[in-house]
């Protein structure tokens, strides 16, 4: 088994925002969701995740409020704001374009 990847610089925000399009989640749920949906190929540094969450909350991309988990524990739930949604749309489009370009370049064969 190859070592899971850490998200490339600048992509964590987009991934987190994407996760939150599914539902408001608390921090751990977000890592779990990301790891799940990456098929185990991705591991998120927890410290980086919380910094990203706080940073985005500050920028108004997400908001946070206390909620209760399934097994009745208090947790901070993050949810997308309209600005967050717009940011996600723009950034993911850019990222997808970039990834395609990289693949195209790398797949190029001579002749």
């Amino acid at each position: 088994m190859t070592e899971p990847l850490a998200p490339l610089k600048g992509t964590l925000d987009v991934l987190v925002l994407k996760a939150l399009t599914w539902a408001p989640m608390h921090g751990f749920e977000i890592t779990a969701w990301l790891e799940d949906h990456a098929g185990g190929e991705l591991t998120v540094d927890d410290s980086a995740l919380y910094q990203a969450l706080h940073r985005m909350e500050e920028r108004g991309l997400i908001t946070a409020d206390w909620g209760v988990t399934g097994n009745n524990r208090r947790a901070r739930y993050y949810s997308l704001t309209a600005a967050g949604r717009a940011h996600l749309k723009a950034e993911s489009a850019k990222l997808v374009r970039y990834a395609r370009t990289v693949i195209t370049v790398l797949a190029a064969r001579s002749g």
């Binding site: 410290s47 910094q51 706080h54 947790a75 901070r76």
Partner: protein, 917 residues
Amino acid sequence: MALEIRTGVRRLFRVVLRRRESLVERLDEELSFHLEARTEQLVARGLTPEAARAEAIRRLGGTVVQARARLLASAERKERRMAWREWFEDLAQDTRYAARGLARRPGLTLVALLTLAVGIGANTAIFSAVNALLLRRLPFREPGRLMDVTLTPPADPAGSGSNAAPWSFAKFRFFRGAQTAFSNLALYSQGKFNLLGREPERLNGEWVSGGYLTTLGVAPALGRDFPAGVDSAGGAPRLALISDALWQRRFDADPAVVGRSADLDGDPFTIIGVLPRGFRGLGGQADVLVPITTRPADELEHEAWSLEFSLIGRLAPGVTPARARAEVNLLGPRVYQDSPMQEGAIGRDARSGWSADARPLDQTRVAPGLRRSLLVLMGAVVFVLLIACVNLANLLLGRAAARRREMAVRLALGVRRGRLVRMLLTESVLLALLGGAAGLLVAGWATRILSAANPLETLQAQGLSGLGVVQFSSIRLDGPALAFTALVALLVGLLFGLIPALGATRPGLTDSLKDDGAATGRGFRLGVSRHLLVVAEVALAIVLLAGAGLMIRSLDRLLSVDPGFDAQHLLTLRMTVAPGDVTRDSLAGFYDRLLERLEAVPGVTAAGLADCPPLAGGCNGTIITFPDRPPVAATESPSIGVHVVTPGWFAALHVPLKRGRLLGGTERVGQPRALVISEAAAERYWHGEDPIGKRAAVWQGGFDKGATVVGIVGDVRFGTIDSVPAPEAYMAYAQSPRSYMTVFLRTRGEPRAIVAPVRTAVHELAPETPIYDIQTMEQRVGTASAQARFSAVLLGLFAAVALALAALGIYGVMAFAVGQRTREIGIRMALGAEPSSVLGLVVREGVVLAALGLVIGLAGALALTRVLRSALYQVAPGDPVTYLVIVAVLGLTAFVASWIPARRASLVDPVEALRRP
């Protein structure tokens, strides 16, 4: 999630979004939750609990502590920014809400704004004056190190007169040599100079000693200062420094002016420098500075009793003002006892009792009387503003009652009370700030008037002159005044807004929610607050009324003072004979010819000359001794005013001869010297004996060897109008000629009508002699009481505003009460109460409130008006007449203000009132 209130509703009622949690708590809870969840996950994947926890911590980025610190720092930054943003958002929201509220009630807003504009504007204007005249730093280097040094005459038995006397040059020289406390000392006195040339001009100037500029720490902008050694002897080279203004005006700002010659009073002076812009000497008016030592040496060395100059000193390094004062006190008597030039002049006893004193120059900036007037006015405007605040609080209380239901709903929805109070205070502060802005317009207008008033001579005439450099013209709306206005507006807004805000948001929800808000005025305790406000308002108004009443009574007394002459139909003008026109020796003959010409002017019935006009704040004086008596006791200050007059002067002014004869044509050079004295002089120095024929020596103008008293005339007030007439001596112009004279012309009709022919008459005889200060005697009398009038008018104005506001306040409260109690009144009347008894009921309530305020106010007034004591002329601060009048005025006002709403109450239709909810 907990209770969710829709954002719109939340905003409308200002429900708080959430309790602001501790940041640390929140973060710790979030992280520990995360650690637990992660550990659980890892255990589920098969790790041991210990290993799982370690892995969870590792993933959080090393130790939890570090991670927490990083997160906390960023969270705090965010929180601070959020808090500020929230605060500003709240403020913006509150301001919008407040603005809408104010706009909805334009009438109330307008009344409030006008009240505030007047209240705050008056405060700013008076503060500007206080700042310029009392507070602002003197424009010299380290002004705190400058001291004013004066001689102190022996205690005056009459208790009048100043306790500070100026210096003579000889005494200054002695003092300077003996002292060690000052690094620099300088002498100066104000003088007038005729600048001759293409357009003769009369200049204000100063006679100064050599160290004048270095003592003040001022350097010439061009050229140089007087050379060292200029003080060493009389007859120094004629040098002059000129002001920047004169340089611009007369010399076209030509740098080559240094070294040029200017003709001052007929002598050529070399201009050696130009003073920095704005510097006009300590007198604040000088266009030219001239060394004292350019005067004849014998005058400076021998006239040790010609006390003329002010002395300032800069403290030597390390010397405290107190130490300098101690040294000056010690040296003072020696200035008299040991100064060698005193030998043989007068008996030692006559000199004892004199000393010297020093005080910080800053304390001399304005006369104590003016300082007191300013502070009294400041106090008065503060009172006006307080009354305005009370009135506004009253107005807002009325609104608070109306809004109580709205506030109760907000409280019920969970809005914190503090938040609501803040919202309501925003409204009052906004109102106050707008009022303050409008007040600046009022203040700008008032300060322009104040700074345009140039009361220098007026103040002099009232003995109120201070340091000339501190001038009314420096009164302006500057930074400190703007800051003061903003601060006052803010405070005022909080002050008048707080009680209504607290009242409107008082918990007690269910009552207010159930209450329909109109029927039971007493249901909530707003009524009590309002009643207290009325009491306070009346009390404040009483204090102002008392102050104004006393000042007006005092002014009335002052205006009825007999100055000792008849001021009607009397024209006065001053002239200084140019040396080019008449030589000193032929002055007497010149004055004879001049009088002849003046008496021939049509409309003139009598003419006279004197060296000093009455009511000008004081004339030249000296000491009097009696050759045929033993030297007088030290405590008996032998001072006397000296007047040089022509024989016709007494008749021209209608100064009555009491005994003996007036000066006649026989008192000429070479003839025996004669003196006419005032009744006060006869009283003080002859104690009921007959002075006629007795000998007295007046130490001035060649009368120091003695002269015979030939007559006694009525007292004339030469000093201030409120001062007791001083002993005066009159000598004949021919025996002691002066080159400066005031001309007095008694006219048949309007005095001003003869100005032109008089000017012509003088100029035909003496073409180079300038005429100035042309005034009717009535104008001079008016000037002499100008400050009293100024204070009385301003205080009266403030008191009138206060009374009007108080009347409005009483009316407002009573009208409100009547409105609230319409139902009750209706029931009373339905049960058979007469309209008159309802009228009495309401009026009684208003009058009781006013009476309560009256009693408190009277106590306050009696305590506070004591500060007016020395500003009052022949009126005691507790003057019963004044108090009776103000009680009557206020009582009547209170009655009328409550009668109007009471009458409305008595006209209530019981059926209509009962039908109301």
